[in-house]
Symmetry: D2
Subunit: 457 residues, 4 copies
């Protein structure tokens, strides 16, 4: 029988039972739920709301239930609705009368959100670890290709030469802010809802500070209505995840392009490639395509919970049950894309030869040439125009800028001198960068040092 | 071994295998996949691309595989990636050499989308049936409460009296357009991708019209690149579903409010209510809260696939694998909310007494009073102002409009006569409506007749 | 003074006025609003609810207001809230007493949605025209490059050779379904809400069929509550737009890649390119980047209105005012991306030389080779494996498949004969396609004929 | 002429110009753009990249341009694309040659994101102020109604009695976390992109630390590619805004319900209400409906920018131009809903009489009764069942729990004694709450004290 059936005369229909149950997915909160129940039980005993003997019986029962669950020997029942009722009903079956005291001064409303907070806390810790693993993989890849130059793009058009480590560190930086967001979210959510009960608190002499401490929370939330109604911490986590998804979708897009015949900058190993059922020659960078694709579901999960919460009256509404699947899916997906991207980074080779052959195209040295003119005293806007015309000549003649004769340069402006050739060609060009944060070799080496130290802490 | 392993030297890592597999969810396409394979196989034989004997061997093998799947005797293997490869590899194990001919002139690219089209077609048929069931339930509820008046609201403020069936039929109309959208989507998607192969078609003499006909499609798609790259039919279905979700979320909101202490207009039976783990008096209309909440995930699924497809280069990209889970989830969720709403409608009682007591409040007859003045020849804008001032008097005196004396009315404007009282009070007010589509009793009866006939076809 | 101020004693605050007004954006409905008012006015006179003389006065006044608006001589006032109240108040100022009869048997609730339906109908017509323009531009581009081969990609890896027109026609097909969705939406929305009044209809003897006919609607909606509460037609239009956005974002991505140094398949003319403020050599395909980017806001607008409507109680709620800005933005943006994509198509050149040089890479002929083996009687799955190993040899030796000697082929399988070379190389490969909808030259020519005829109707 | 036209031969078409321009909306960044230019200019002079005299000329010119803009005397030109080019071109016209040096070691890529960071910083400060204003308004409203009891709801069913200030403080808590999110976002975004130039940094000897300091940033970003490519700070701000939107949509829903005839708990003053064009009696809480509705567009804006950034290759792509309108709209909308909600709070009266009459319904004291039994030593689960049956009796007899006789209670369980009546009735019930964060009068008073102090700092 239901644990809440006192005033009910008829059972709910099977269709409604099936539609309403959450145990099929919220059972994954069992560990957090048991942790919360243990803390709650100890507190009830400490406050005289149950005897020490009842407490010990319950704690032993909870241990037994955990053991059964973990060895696959626990029957989850849909008619018991959710993880909380399944555990409580099983406990009553297991240890009898004392178990009926466990739900004193507690409601599923505060219980579930306590479970979810604990789950999110663990989830964030797992995500932070995976972020660091990926950062390490990227730095390792950066070090392995420290002197390699790739074309830098804007608008997918060749822009300026950049060092491979410089590009990879851009993603390390992004991941660093991602970690910061997760840490901020963790601090903000790490407060205890337990003891908010249904929504108003309780008249029983509970000690919310004790349970909060027992569960590793910074303290209890200050308002019981807030304690059961808000899901902002979950939205914050889903948002942070969505931003990670966007970051990795961009890296994925880049690597998918790099792995194409046309770019040919990287070769993923067989270990991270898949083939085609029809085209025998294909070797596809599927993991990164899936990373890009999975960013969509991370965004979708965020959307779901925003829509879910929008316009709900206070305090608890059953709609909120629907917050869990998108949460679980988002966290799992982000775990997956972080892991697989790191694995891909470990299994990718930059093709130095192909890059070397590719670099002359696209006038990557044009801006360096404009800077040359600026150093000679020409206003930048004028130099931009002069170089623009030099590029037009080169395009017309299908040559590179360094192939223009000094006469051709001087025909554009007499300011050019022989030393211009020290600024042309990709090798010269990339060597000229010096500003803080730029792609200059020394600057990049400094940054690599910084990250090596940061990540080895 | 993989079916595509010819040029590969190393196996993919376990993490990538787990990350990339889709068989854990696309196995639910098995029936469509087998159907497609049968049609393809027959066509290959008819076109001389395999012998009749090979065809028969394969068809028998496919039947055996279907039987095994349906009796739970088939091992789905993640290392075989997806439903297609699982079936094909099992078929090769089962019948040997002939099975290796089945994938002739076919790619997973066109195979999967053919499966999905077949699945969507079935899904739409199932949704259309459930829409009709819900319409019938609403019409039945309307008939059972044909003469009952509820306050009509705008801005959640009492506006005008309306008949219960009038309100319920508004949702029947919305569901009717929902069905129309689904039917249009079905027609548009009912074309065959099969034979598009990887993306370019094939040089083998296949007959795409034959497979299209065999599978019940209107014909083959005209362009093979389009055939493998587009998911617009899926987006169209997800959009239609999202609109259904929005419609039912509004009905759900209304019924949740109606079931509250404050409104008290309806009482759901115990069969569709649930209780509280802490508050013994609670009887909650959870199914409708979940209907409202689940609209969020339907919207989220649409968002996911829109984001997924955005900016993908042609033709097939692995990202597209991610289209299936949101599709399945959206369809299942919409099935669920349609069913449960119908069940709720069958288990709800309108509280005539409570409604009768409630109706006098809120000056629901004010617009009818304004219409009275219009009939007397007063311009509407003036009558609106006069009645506005009459309401101000009633509010001040805490009485109803029908309690104002004729003197009080005439003090506002001498146009009022004794017959004004025939327009006041909710019963008088609601009886006055006559326009097509209005809440007038005759109009509503006509509409009920219309729907009874439509829905019994 | 407000037109609804009868029972109010204090004016609303300035902040609320500013926050609540919609005239700053809904004034763009003025033409539809006037059209609706004219039809309503004629009907009121025909039904004896105003005199013919009042009708003529009002119609003349509405013409004068339209003239003033169109010559920029009309003052839109935020304190009059919206387009409806601005027009009505101005009409009263202009023609006096008769104007006070115009709002008889009408509410802003049915008025606004009638305006929006009319606006959407026009908007769809405009979108359909632009879709056709883009289809024509794509077909023109296809004809201009009828024999040109490009690599076809899956997973951004070279897959099979395809004809340029074949690829372009894939988008023409997609646009065709887009147009179908818009037409279905147009049919479904083309019903009249007018006469639903606030939500319940009216007691005055109006003729809704007359106004519906006058305004070109298929008829009046059958239920007045439905008539004011639902926005599904708008969601359907926004969904159709979102799908168009996704389609064009994919074409945009493709063209941005094609315009890169690495692909180099197309060159956009200066007329559709822009430069860089710092890098003098840059020529960016910005319009297509913006087409890709703008798909985001089209999706965002759909999300907005879905979220907006979710969970609203019936019938009209002020929230719904927020439906208009996303609607206008979505339609304008889709108009823009359709136009600019057509313009880009008109200004782009395929680089035949560059393509010719590029085609040998990537073993685009591998599937054709597998088909060759199938024609020789080898089961496809075996041929896939054999060709896979042939590709492995070619990759190792850095040669093309056609460079393998017959001995090398026969070492893989003795089935190979001299005629294999007729299947190798891109030209041979593409010439082999014959299936319906494939990239075979004849098939593509048929499709071009089909579209030329379709689009010239 | 364009400032980047050197290599171009033809101008862009008018349609593309109109489609691509951003000045119509990014001109609102002018103040940030000028600030950035001033800092950049001073740094260039300090580093010897321009003379002090050029610097002074430029600074004077920038002042003049600002003055012109602010007095409406500046012509924004769409053919100059954006705010940056408009300002630079105007500066060249104004002061001539020296102005051509301003763009030295700068690109629009780093310039625009610097502007946006500065704008966001200001925007956040403005939002934080408005959050505090709203918190103060809510606390003020709480104090004015310190002893008033409202029914607390879960599932929109009456649950337990709560004090009005307790409910209001729940929202104050939520706003507090909202402010925390904004502050974290502010810290994280407050780094300088300036000097990232196009994407690679520069070869000119600039001082990025100097410009960062001058602009109030914590320092320069460490990686120039990251500096121009990422929009995560913007996504973080949009997410924080979306959560605020969700919070206020819930408060709005609550107040809209409270203002209904059925609840009648609050009366908004005329100053924040609006009327109906057709129904003279209506007084609608429109501002709160719009607050609820506007949460949709805040969510939509977040979706837009997530979709926008998804899958973009590094570094700058023109798509990113589309980030600004959703940013501006989101911030403005959140400003608006914060302001208007505060104004509404200032203009709302709780109806003590109506509440008093309403409270007896719904058995709000049932949980307190269960707690009574727990205090008597009964296990909670048993007491829940006993009270459930007591409620069933009360429902059947249509009485309140306090109307049951002691005999009736004892028939359910002999544990009941005379003192049970001290726990029944709403007044008794609410007085029993004592737990930290509960609705007990002392607990709530403590919290009010806490907030009064916090908010007066």
């Amino acid at each position: 029988a239901k644990l809440w059936g006192g005033r009910f005369e008829k059972p709910v229909t099977e269709a409604v039972t099936k539609f309403s149950e959450s145990v099929s997915y919220d059972k994954r909160l069992y560990s957090q739920d048991l942790k919360g129940s243990r803390a709650h039980c100890k507190m009830l005993a400490a406050q005289g709301l149950m005897t020490d003997s009842d407490r010990d019986t319950i704690l032993k029962g909870l241990d037994e239930i955990e053991a059964r669950i973990e060895r696959g020997d626990f029957t989850w029942r849909a008619d018991r609705e959710d993880v909380h009722m399944n555990v409580e009903a099983a406990l009553i079956e297991l240890v009898g009368e004392p178990a009926k005291k466990l739900h004193t001064a507690r409601s599923r409303n505060d219980q579930v959100i306590t479970d979810v907070r604990l789950w999110c806390r663990d989830a964030i810790d797992g995500l932070l670890e995976r972020i660091q693993t990926l950062q390490v993989a990227l730095v390792r890849l950066a070090i392995a290709n420290q002197d390699l130059v790739v074309p830098g793009y804007t608008h997918m058009q060749r822009a300026q030469p950049i060092l491979v480590p410089h590009l990879l560190l851009a993603y390390v930086e992004q991941l660093d802010r991602d970690a910061g967001r997760l840490r901020d979210c963790r601090s903000r959510l790490n407060f205890s809802s337990l003891g908010s009960c249904a929504l108003a608190g309780t008249g029983l002499p509970i000690d919310r500070h004790m349970t909060a401490k027992e569960l590793g929370f910074s303290g209890p939330l200050r308002n019981s209505v807030d304690g059961v109604m808000d899901r902002d911490f979950l939205l914050e986590l889903l948002s942070a995840n969505a931003i990670i998804g966007v970051h990795l979708s961009r890296l994925a897009e880049e690597w998918v392009l790099y792995a194409s015949e046309e770019f040919g900058f990287i070769t993923p190993s067989d270990a991270v490639s898949t083939g085609s059922s029809i085209m025998p020659q294909k070797k596809n960078p599927d993991p990164m395509e899936l990373v890009r694709g999975k960013s969509a579901r991370i965004i979708g999960s965020l959307t779901t919970v925003l829509v879910l919460c929008k316009g709900l009256p206070s305090a608890y509404n059953r709609d909120l049950q629907e917050d869990k699947e998108p949460l679980f899916d988002s966290v799992e997906t982000v775990q997956g894309i972080l892991e697989v991207t790191a694995e891909f980074a470990d299994n990718v080779t930059f093709n130095a030869d192909r890059l070397a052959k590719s670099l002359p195209a696209g006038h990557l040295d044009a801006t360096t040439l404009a800077d040359y003119l600026v150093k000679k005293g020409m206003p930048f806007r004028t130099s931009h125009d002069v170089v623009g015309r030099a590029v037009a000549v080169a395009v017309k003649e299908k040559i590179e800028l360094q192939d223009l004769t000094l006469e051709q340069f001087r025909a554009l402006d007499p300011i050019f001198e022989e030393d211009v050739y020290g600024y042309l060609g990709v090798t010269n060009s990339v060597s000229k960068f010096i500003s803080y944060g730029s792609t200059g070799a020394e600057r990049v080496a400094e940054q690599l040092e910084y990250w090596k130290e940061r990540l080895s802490q």
